[in-house]
């Protein structure tokens, strides 16, 4: 039984929504945990109490955030099974391993030490507690590593092969899955983005304290740490973002073409479209402002290699679909007789395109009977939503360059000890708070929405990956998620704002201290 359209759409909405929601908390966890480590290291070296206060106060906000990160993270793992059952069984042989290793190597570390971070101040030596904080931070970053190895494989599935006996992809080479260049570039890009989120969080809230004229010593020191960390991280994000783009041009050409709004292949080196309005129906980008040669240099790092346009890529896709039909036909023969040597030969020659054959199942369950028109339709299905990718990418990249300038200027002001002289800049710092989240969410959109219609690039179309559940069931779970996640967002925001307004004094004052001397 093939999945129903509604179920596919609803499952995608549910996954996308819960992933974007999870991704509000994760970058802050990654970024803040490292900043906590840096602050506590300074405390360890200098033994000055203000650095302990800094670690504890930012740690308090970290704690409010990390609970949500955990609560929304388990959802992601479980959802592969509940809503993407065919995906899980089709690629679980490869995809499951990095997820399990994430638990073994990273999440266990992070979750075990997060409790001790809060409860260990009086039970551990200063060095002991510092170790705990760093183990927590390392756990958070390693966690991102294995999740992005899993995700990198969905973008660029290396080291695996289809096995017709078991009807799934099977692991051939674990080393190439782990050291997948796409995964490694994504890992550094994504954790640097997390560091940027953490740095901006600390700077913006410190700017708020300075604007209020309270906690000046605390705020200045916090800003100095975050500005230096943020500057390094924002440079890292942009450089590795460029690396991701370069790699995508070898592995996910369609994604690049959509991001850049290139419909027809330009003569090399291709021009870079700064702005414009891509039109998905007419296959043009209107009012485009182009910089000659720039894209060719960025995406191919050469003067001669082309950046393919969508129309050329689609016609190439048609060839792969035809090859996929051959593979599918051979597969049906092999399912009846596994020793048919002719079928085996055809299958081996075309099996890398079997996923393209599956694309047709949206139109014709038995893809052997596909018409030329259906092949054309399926080929055009491989084009993602160009305007969304085009704009998401531009806003994200724009934010990236803004962050470099912002952190550089903050860093300069901190060095010159002139932070309090520029109130307008403190306002800008405060108002910039949502920007790294915006950039991170749009980064997710570019990477994952840009991967459509594939759940695993070139191997498995998204619509085939879903579970055999009814649309009503997904409606109910989706409504449940929206209801509970909204309620939790309200509580989380309320607590965050409350503790930000109270400021670091909350750690010493008895009046507002959580839970002190409270009896029935």
């Amino acid at each position: 039984m093939l999945p129903i359209n509604d179920v596919v759409m609803l499952s995608r909405v549910q996954f996308g929504m819960t992933a974007l929601y999870h991704f509000l908390f994760v970058p802050l966890t990654i970024g803040l945990s490292n900043l906590l480590g840096i602050m506590e290291t300074v405390y360890f070296i200098t033994n000055r109490p203000i650095w302990k206060t800094m670690t504890q106060y930012w740690g308090l906000l970290f704690g409010i955030n990390v609970a949500m990160g955990v609560a929304t993270g388990v959802t992601m793992e479980f959802q592969f099974g509940t809503n993407w059952a065919y995906y899980s069984q089709y690629v679980g042989d490869i995809f499951g391993a990095p997820l399990a290793i994430e638990g073994l190597m990273a999440f266990f570390l992070e979750a075990t030490f997060v409790g001790l971070f809060f409860f260990g101040w009086d039970k551990l030596s200063r060095g002991g507690h510092l170790l705990v904080t760093w183990l927590l931070a390392i756990g958070a970053s390693f966690s991102a590593l294995w999740i992005l190895i899993a995700n990198g494989w969905m973008q660029h599935p290396v080291g695996a092969r289809f096995n017709f006996h078991t009807m799934r992809m099977e692991l051939q080479d674990f080393y190439s899955v782990v050291f997948n260049e796409v995964a490694q570039a994504k890992f550094v890009h994504t954790i640097s983005a997390g560091y940027v989120v953490g740095s901006m969080f600390v700077i913006a809230i410190s700017a708020y304290f300075l604007l209020k004229g309270s906690q000046t010593a605390f705020a200045k020191r916090s800003m100095a740490v975050a500005a230096a960390f943020g500057l390094a991280s924002s440079l890292c994000v942009v450089v590795l973002g460029d690396e991701s783009g370069y790699l995508a041009n070898t592995n996910q050409r369609m994604k690049i073409a959509a991001i850049e709004g290139i419909w027809k292949t330009d003569p090399s080196p291709a021009p870079l479209t700064l702005f414009g309005f891509p039109d998905q129906k007419l296959h043009t980008t209107n009012y485009a402002i182009r910089v000659p040669y720039a894209l060719g240099l960025i995406a191919t790092r050469s003067l001669t290699r082309p950046v393919y346009g969508i129309e050329d890529l689609v016609s190439h896709t048609k060839d792969r679909i035809r090859s996929g039909i051959l593979a599918y036909n051979a597969l049906l023969t092999l399912q009846r007789n596994a020793n048919d040597s002719d079928a085996l030969q055809i299958f081996d020659a075309n099996q890398h395109d079997i996923g393209y054959g599956f694309l047709l199942q949206k139109y014709v369950p038995d893809v052997r009977h596909a018409t030329a028109q259906q092949i054309e339709q399926a080929a055009w299905d491989t084009v993602p939503d160009v305007p969304i990718l085009f704009w998401s990418f531009r806003v994200m990249a724009g934010c990236g360059f803004y962050f470099i300038a912002f952190f550089a200027f903050t860093f300069y002001l901190c060095q010159k000890r002139r932070l309090t002289e520029y109130r307008w800049f403190l306002w800008i710092a405060l108002l910039s708070l949502p920007l790294p989240w915006l950039a991170a969410e749009l980064g997710w959109v570019v990477a994952e929405y840009g991967r459509q219609p594939w759940v695993v690039e070139g191997l498995l179309p998204t619509f085939l990956g879903v579970s055999s559940v009814s649309a009503e069931m997904v409606w109910m779970s989706l409504s449940g998620f929206i209801l509970f996640y909204t309620a939790l967002a309200v509580v989380e925001l309320y607590l965050m704002v409350k503790y930000i307004r109270l400021g670091p004094t909350v750690l010493s004052s008895h009046a507002a201290k959580p839970g002190d001397h409270f009896h029935d």
Partner: protein, 379 residues
């Protein structure tokens, strides 16, 4: 490299160990949350109870996250069938254990408002009570079999509803697991607290231990007399391809007890479950309840082990088409994946045990009013 059949066997045991680890390590968190309204009668007592598990429950929960991840990696098709088949049960588990529990611990202490705190108390209770029952309900349904089948491409069809999961046998198993966790949680609380809370915890734990023995034996008799077990007909190649369509299996009432006739030494596994619970009940007051806690852990290991060895080699039987049931031998990952995962486990599991032990060592000792008031970061 190791033979595929051996790797499959190792992974079946390893997943069993992870589930047992989960029951022993996180089980007491569920039990204590479920006991909260019974053992604590004022705000200070509730804070003491919550602070016994406050710093550690998060690490403990990773056992089930890792367990689920290990099933995904080692038996992907089992993961796919169980999670999408028991859709609403899994989502309810996710909601209570995965979403409500983490925030309830963290957010309860953040405001001194009484209404706020009582609200989160009830969320904490739900986050312990509901999963404690759900785990048993899921195990009960796995024993009975889930109504699933596959087509030629191994695409799954599932023809059950959430309400079917709440059958009498599964509910019986659910009550058993609730009492297992309450017994276990009560004893952990007895180790970590003093005076009134400790006395109440021991009383409830003992009661639960007796319940565990009765319900476990009752469940065994039920399985023998009324529950349809499954059997593979003919030989199956333990090294064969992971495709569940290449064998024949049947249902017979009481077949889940066949393994004990074939391998009589297996009877010590359920006996461990019973003796452990009895031991926990009788020794609850001795040596600060430490020995009783060990007995209780042994009981959990024995009871979970009983489910595993009774069903061997089945992991997930299909009540719709028994021949499509998932076995250890035809539902696993490939040899390379199993081997790679085994290497990772051999390296990291001992490290995890070491640092977990260190954290428990740092946090050793009783939690009382003084400790809760002294620590500004306490819940």
């Amino acid at each position: 490299m190791i033979e595929l059949a051996t790797l499959r066997m190792i992974w079946w045991i390893l997943i069993g160990i992870l589930l047992m680890g989960f029951a022993v390590m996180d089980g007491f968190d569920f039990g204590i949350a479920a006991l909260l309204p019974l053992v604590a009668q004022n705000e200070m007592e509730r804070r003491i109870v919550l602070n016994t598990i406050g710093p550690i429950w998060e690490g403990n929960q990773v056992w089930i996250i890792l367990g689920a991840g290990a099933v995904f990696a080692a038996f992907p098709i089992v993961y796919a069938v169980a999670f999408s088949g028991a859709y609403f049960a899994v989502l309810l588990l996710l909601l209570t254990m995965g979403i409500m529990r983490p925030v309830s611990f963290k957010y309860r202490s953040k405001l001194p408002n009484l209404f706020w705190r009582r609200f989160w108390d009830s969320v904490i209770f739900i986050g312990g009570f509901v999963p404690a029952i759900l785990f048993g309900v899921l195990v009960g349904n796995i024993l009975v079999g889930l109504p699933f089948s596959f087509d030629q491409n191994l695409r799954l069809t599932y023809s059950g509803h959430f309400i079917d999961l709440l059958n009498p046998f599964a509910l019986w198993c659910g009550l058993t697991s609730l009492m297992m966790f309450v017994m276990h949680g009560g004893l952990f609380l007895a180790i970590k607290t003093d005076d009134l809370i400790r006395e109440r915890a021991i009383r409830w734990s003992r009661l639960a231990a007796i319940g565990v023995v009765l319900f476990f034996i009752g469940g065994g008799i039920w399985t023998h007399l009324c529950v349809t077990g499954y059997q593979v007909i003919g030989n199956i190649d333990p090294n064969g391809f992971s495709n569940p369509l290449n064998k024949t299996a049947t249902q017979t009432v009481g077949a889940w007890l066949n393994n004990y006739k074939l391998y009589p030494f297996l009877k010590y596994v359920p006996i461990l479950g019973i003796i452990g619970a009895l031991g926990a009940c009788f020794t609850a007051n001795f040596y600060n309840s430490r020995f009783a806690f060990l007995c209780s852990s042994a009981s959990l290991v024995g009871i979970i082990g009983t489910v595993g060895v009774s069903m061997f080699p089945f992991i997930l039987p299909s009540s719709l088409n028994p021949s499509m049931s998932l076995l250890i031998w035809d539902a696993s990952s490939s040899k390379l994946t199993l081997f790679t995962m085994l290497c990772a486990t051999i390296i990291f599991l001992p490290i995890i045990l070491l640092y977990t032990a260190w954290v428990y060592h740092v946090l050793r000792g009783k939690v009382g009013q003084a400790a809760v008031l002294a620590n500004k970061q306490a819940y």
